[in-house]
C-alpha cells in the first residue's frame, strides 16, 4: 500500500510551551520527520548579568512557572557554591519538601490534565468532569496537595518566595506541616485510584522501544532529586563540574532548537531516566506501583515515561511524609519571620544541579567581588531531550507509515507529550520558521 501523509506543523497541544511536528510521507517513503521547537527567546542568561546574588534566584524562577521552585533552588545552589555559603540540615530538608511538592504537582498535571485525555479519547481534561468525575476529583486533589506542599514551605506555589541564598526568609508553621502530614498519609487511596485508571489504559500506550543513553543525578543515600552527582547509563558517574561535557549543545540544520548529546547522538532525561538509573532507591510504595505495571529498569519505551512519573508520584508522597516526620521530630529551630541570611559576597563561580520534573537542570554563574553576576549558563531538561524525541520519531515513523494520517499524528503527539516537554524554559531556543496553521 502506498499513500501520502502530511502531518504538518500544527502546534502540539497540551504541552507547556510551543513545539510542532513535521512529518511528510510520500508514497510510503518518509521524506521529512522533524521535531520543531517554536518559542520566542527570552535571554535569561543575559538578563542575569549585572544583577545581585540576592535576586538571581528571583529572576530565574521566571524562566518557567511549572518549575519555578526548581529553577530557584538550582540558582541558589549555584550562588551558594560560588560564595561558599552553607545551608543547614533543616533548610535542606525544607528545600527538598518544596521541590517534591512542585514535582508532584507537575507530574499530576502532566498525567491527569495533559496525558490522560489521550488515553480516554478526549481532547482535554474538561470533558472528564462528565465522563470520569471521580477520577478527575482524585487528580485535582493530588494536584492541589502538591501545590499546598510548596505553598506551606515557600509561601506560594508559583514563583515561590521564602527561598533565599543561605536559607529561608520565614519558616512554615509546625501546625501547617502537621496538617500536611495528615493529608499526605490519607493520599494513598488517591494514588491507588490514579494507578487503577492508568493500569486500565496502559494498553493504549504504543509498544515502541528504542534504547538510548539515560542521564540523571545519582546519590548514594537516596533517589536523587535535590542533590547528587551526574550518572550516565553508558559511562556511570560523572562529577557535576563536568556538566558541560555531558550536555553538549549543538545546532541541527532542520530544526532551530539546540539539541544535546553525550556518548551517543542523543540522550534522555526525566522520570524514566531517573527510574532506569536509580530504581533500587525508590520507596517501597513506589516499587509496588512499578511492579504492578511491570516496569523493571532498564525500560526502553519512552511512552512509559508516563508510568515512571506515576511511580515517582508515590515516591514523592512517601518521601514527603518521611521529611515532615523528621522535621517535626527535631522541631523547627526558631528564626526571624524576615530573615536575611548573612552573606559576604565573594568573586567566583558555582554550579547548581538538581533533578526537576522533566530531568536534570544545571545553573552556573560567575560572580564579581561585589556579588554581581558576570556570566550565567542554564541548561534545561527539555533541551536535553529534543535530540532524543527526534531520534525516536525517526525510528518510529517508518514502522507506522501504513497507518492513516490521523493515527500517525496522534501516535507522534503522544510521543512528544510522553516527554512532557516544557518549552517555556526558553533559555536556549533559536527561532524557527513556522509551518502549518498558527494559533
Amino acid at each position: 500500500m502506498s499513500h501520502t501523509v502530511d502531518v504538518e506543523g500544527d502546534l502540539v497541544t497540551r504541552v507547556e510551551g510551543h513545539g510542532s511536528i513535521v512529518v511528510n510521507v510520500a508514497e510510503g517513503d518518509v521524506e521529512t520527520c522533524e521535531w520543531h521547537v517554536v518559542e520566542s527567546p527570552r535571554y535569561f542568561e543575559s538578563m542575569l548579568v549585572g544583577r545581585s546574588f540576592r535576586e538571581a534566584h528571583h529572576v530565574t524562577s521566571r524562566i518557567c512557572a511549572i518549575c519555578s521552585v526548581s529553577h530557584t533552588i538550582a540558582s541558589l545552589q549555584a550562588t551558594e557554591a560560588a560564595m561558599g555559603v552553607a545551608v543547614s540540615e533543616q533548610d535542606r530538608r525544607l528545600r527538598k519538601l518544596a521541590l517534591y511538592g512542585e514535582t508532584l504537582q507537575s507530574h499530576v498535571l502532566h498525567l491527569g490534565y495533559l496525558a490522560l485525555p489521550d488515553l480516554v479519547g478526549e481532547k482535554s481534561v474538561l470533558p472528564l468532569a462528565d465522563t470520569h468525575p471521580d477520577e478527575l476529583e482524585t487528580v485535582i486533589d493530588l494536584h492541589r496537595l502538591g501545590n499546598e506542599l510548596t505553598e506551606v514551605v515557600t509561601g506560594r506555589s508559583v514563583h515561590a518566595q521564602r527561598l533565599l541564598a543561605g536559607g529561608f526568609s520565614q519558616l512554615p508553621e509546625e501546625s501547617k506541616l502537621e496538617e500536611l502530614l495528615d493529608r499526605l498519609l490519607n493520599s494513598w487511596d488517591a494514588v491507588a485510584e490514579l494507578a487503577d485508571l492508568l493500569a486500565v489504559l496502559a494498553d493504549e500506550l504504543p509498544d515502541f522501544e528504542r534504547e538510548t543513553e539515560y542521564i540523571s543525578l545519582t546519590h548514594p543515600e537516596e533517589y536523587a532529586f535535590a542533590e547528587g552527582s551526574i550518572y550516565s547509563s553508558d559511562v556511570g558517574e560523572i562529577p557535576v563540574s563536568d556538566y558541560r561535557d555531558v550536555a553538549n549543545e549543538y545546532v541541527v540544520d532542520h530544526s532551530t532548537a539546540k539539541f544535546a548529546r553525550h556518548e551517543r547522538d542523543s540522550y534522555m532525561v526525566g522520570a524514566l531516566a531517573r527510574f532506569n538509573n536509580n530504581a533500587e532507591q525508590l520507596a517501597p510504595r513506589a516499587t509496588e506501583i512499578a511492579d504492578r505495571f511491570g516496569l523493571a529498569a532498564p525500560v526502553h519505551n519512552p511512552y512509559l515515561n508516563n508510568v515512571a512519573q506515576l511511580v515517582e508520584v508515590a515516591h514523592l508522597l512517601a518521601e514527603s511524609v518521611r521529611l515532615i516526620e523528621a522535621l517535626l521530630a527535631d522541631g523547627l529551630a526558631p528564626q526571624s519571620d524576615y530573615r536575611v541570611p548573612e552573606i559576604d559576597p565573594t568573586a567566583g563561580s558555582g554550579i547548581g544541579a538538581i533533578e526537576v520534573p522533566r530531568g536534570v537542570l544545571f545553573h552556573e554563574y560567575d560572580y564579581d567581588e561585589a556579588g554581581k553576576v558576570t556570566a550565567a549558563n542554564c541548561v534545561i531538561p527539555t533541551n536535553q531531550n529534543h535530540g532524543n524525541i527526534q531520534r525516536d520519531m525517526e525510528t518510529l515513523v517508518p514502522t507506522i507509515v501504513d497507518r492513516d494520517a490521523e493515527e500517525i499524528e496522534h501516535t507522534l503527539e503522544m510521543l512528544v507529550r510522553a516527554y512532557d516537554p516544557c518549552i517555556s524554559c526558553s533559555t536556549h531556543y533559536l527561532d524557527v520558521e513556522f509551518v502549518g496553521e498558527e494559533r
Binding site: 502546534l11 497541544t13 497540551r14 507547556e16 510551551g17 518559542e39 520566542s40 527567546p41 527570552r42 535571554y43 535569561f44 542568561e45 543575559s46 538578563m47 548579568v49 549585572g50 544583577r51 545581585s52 535576586e55 528571583h58 529572576v59 521566571r62 518557567c64 512557572a65 511549572i66 519555578s68 490534565y113 495533559l114 485525555p117 481532547k123 482535554s124 481534561v125 474538561l126 468532569a129 485535582i140 494536584h143 492541589r144 501545590n147 509561601g155 506560594r156 514563583h159 518566595q161 521564602r162 526568609s169 520565614q170 545546532v251 532551530t256 539546540k258 519571620d337 524576615y338 530573615r339 536575611v340 517555556s424 526558553s426 536556549h428 533559536l430 527561532d431 513556522f434 498558527e438 494559533r439
Partner: protein, 266 residues
C-alpha cells in the same frame, strides 16, 4: 478603561473565551489551572474554546481573549493582530503581557551582546526583536490583570465582572495598603528596601508576608511619585546605581514609556 463588551450572562449564553500564550513562563495560565476544582465552576459560566496548555480543541470564534506573555518576534505580532481581530475584549494576563514585566530587564542591554551571551556563535540566526515589548505596544488592549504571577482571586473577580458585562476592578493603591492589613513589619523598619510604596496593590502583599520585600512585579501605580520615592531610597542609603537596578527589575518598559510621554525626562 474600555467601551468594549462581550455577551454577558444576562443574555443567556456563556461568553466564549480563549487563552493565548506568548513570550513568558506560562505562570498565569498555571494560576488558572491552579484554581483546581474552581476551574470546573469557571467553565460553567464561560465556554473555553482555546487553551493550548490544557486542551487540543481550538476555535477562532471567541469574544474574550486572555493573552499571557509579551511580544518578542514578528510572528508574535502577526498572531496578536489576528487575536485582536477575532476578539471583542482583549485582556492582558500577567505582567509580561501588561507592561513587558521581567522580560524588559534586558531592554537596557545592547542587543548584539544579549544574543551573543545566550547563543554564542549561533547568535546570527536569532531573529527576535531587539527589545521585549508588552502586547499593548502592538494591539489595543481593553483590560490588564497584572502580577507575576497573577493573583487567582483577582482573575476570578475579573472574569466574574466580564461575564456580567461589568469592568474588572484592579486596584490603584500601593502594595503598602494591603501590607498593613496583613500586619507585616515594614521592610524599611527592618533595614531593607521595598518597592511596595509605588507598586500597584491587589496581591495581599504576598512577598512581604512571606518574609521578603516587594519586588515591584505588579508594576507601578498610575501616577507614582517616583521622584519622592527615589529620595526615600537615597535616604535609606541606596546609591543611584542601586536604585536604577531596583526599578529595572519589572519596570523598565513602564519607565521608558513614561519618559517618552514626558518628552524624554525621567
Amino acid at each position: 478603561m474600555s467601551d468594549a463588551s462581550a455577551p454577558s450572562v444576562s443574555d443567556g449564553r456563556r461568553p466564549r473565551v480563549a487563552f493565548f500564550d506568548f513570550t513568558g513562563c506560562e505562570g498565569d495560565q498555571l494560576q488558572v489551572i491552579n484554581l483546581e476544582d474552581r476551574l470546573l465552576d469557571l467553565v460553567e459560566v464561560v465556554e473555553v474554546v482555546s487553551f493550548r496548555e490544557a486542551m487540543t480543541e481550538h476555535g477562532d470564534d471567541y469574544e474574550i481573549a486572555f493573552v499571557e506573555g509579551g511580544v518578542a518576534t514578528a510572528h508574535d505580532e502577526r498572531r496578536l493582530t489576528r487575536i485582536r481581530e477575532n476578539a471583542d475584549i482583549v485582556v492582558a494576563l500577567g505582567s509580561c503581557a501588561a507592561f513587558a514585566g521581567i522580560n524588559a530587564l534586558r531592554n537596557d542591554q545592547e542587543f548584539e551582546t544579549v544574543k551573543e551571551r545566550v547563543y554564542g556563535e549561533d547568535s546570527d540566526s536569532i531573529t527576535s526583536y531587539p527589545i521585549a515589548r508588552p502586547i499593548d505596544d502592538v494591539i489595543e488592549v481593553d483590560y490588564e490583570i497584572p502580577g507575576c504571577p497573577i493573583d487567582r482571586e483577582e482573575f476570578v473577580g475579573a472574569v466574574t465582572a466580564l461575564v456580567n458585562g461589568a469592568e474588572p476592578s484592579i486596584p490603584n493603591y500601593p502594595v503598602c495598603v494591603e501590607c498593613k492589613f496583613e500586619e507585616n513589619t515594614c521592610a524599611f523598619e527592618r533595614g531593607e528596601t521595598c518597592l511596595g510604596p509605588i507598586t500597584r496593590g491587589g496581591c495581599s502583599a504576598t512577598c512581604v508576608s512571606a518574609g521578603t520585600h516587594c519586588w515591584g512585579c505588579r508594576g507601578m501605580v498610575d501616577d507614582p511619585n517616583e521622584g519622592a520615592y527615589t529620595d526615600v531610597l537615597e535616604d535609606h542609603g541606596l546609591t543611584t546605581e542601586e536604585i536604577i537596578e531596583e526599578y529595572q527589575l519589572y519596570w523598565n518598559w513602564q519607565r521608558d514609556s513614561r519618559a517618552v510621554a514626558d518628552g524624554g525626562n525621567r
